[in-house]
Symmetry: C2
Subunit: 146 residues, 2 copies
Amino acid sequence: MRSAAVLMPEKKKKVHRVTVAPPAVADPKLEALVREIIERVADKWTMLVLEVLEEHGVVRFTRLGELVGGISQKMLTKTVRQMERDGLVTRTVHPVIPPRVEYQLTELGRSLGEAFCGVWIWVERHGDEIARAREAFERGAQPRSK
Amino acid sequence: MRSAAVLMPEKKKKVHRVTVAPPAVADPKLEALVREIIERVADKWTMLVLEVLEEHGVVRFTRLGELVGGISQKMLTKTVRQMERDGLVTRTVHPVIPPRVEYQLTELGRSLGEAFCGVWIWVERHGDEIARAREAFERGAQPRSK
DNA sequence: CCTATCACTCTCCTTTGGGTAAGTATAGAT
DNA sequence: ATCTATACTTACCCAAAGGAGAGTGATAGG
């Protein structure tokens, strides 16, 4: 707000340091892989579909959507295709007249589901603690700086 | 592409069924809570910050960014604030001159980190299988419909 | 005086996520 | 002839995610 730059046109430059935090990693290529998988798997819909398929076995498209709940056909298709591509589910098309497509987890998918099991349990067990922490935080209204 | 609707202006209506998949849930209110927590926690940055804090203990802002890698200050601040709000981390401000702020997991945060442990292990163990499945999928080039 | 440091915040802008609605193909039922 | 059901795809559109980069405030050190 205080016209400062106008007074000294070609000076500063400042460089200002990058905003993205560079190296500091221990294992570059393994890290990159892990990073990518995490990004793919740490997705709301993927986790939800995974859970549904884990406890319902073989499910067809529309039913899968109902079980997941609140997902649009578009996102369901996209999620399931991605999971197929990643080898987490199999997609079986029965060439009958009203089309019938069935999805189910592969061995790989099932193992991922099991790995997530701990998280589901955690959520069921500690979910309310988060709710309480959030309320307390809002109430306390953090006197951060200023 | 073939002007069909113009020929019969006020007829069909079709309703076309909703696109979002309604009820079909077993436990509405618990489901909603779980859903919300999952959405909050199944986030790339949250998972990454959680892991870094889990294995480095107490870390300050810039260092945390470097350890996570590839995160912008903006996202780091946001992620960490949210985690603080949810009671997963504590934020300690030391009122010294170049500011010094330290982050560390709470007991709750640590337990979540442990719950995710299974997923980290899974990724390390099966990550390459996903990579291979993906290649195979691309190569196979799915002859779906058409 | 200038500069650097830290932990942010703010603005600007592009990319992605994701919902809605409609279209498609096909066969059997009405 | 029209309707229905299934599993999609496509087009349109808006909102949120998230990067780039500059600004801030206080102070110690050159």
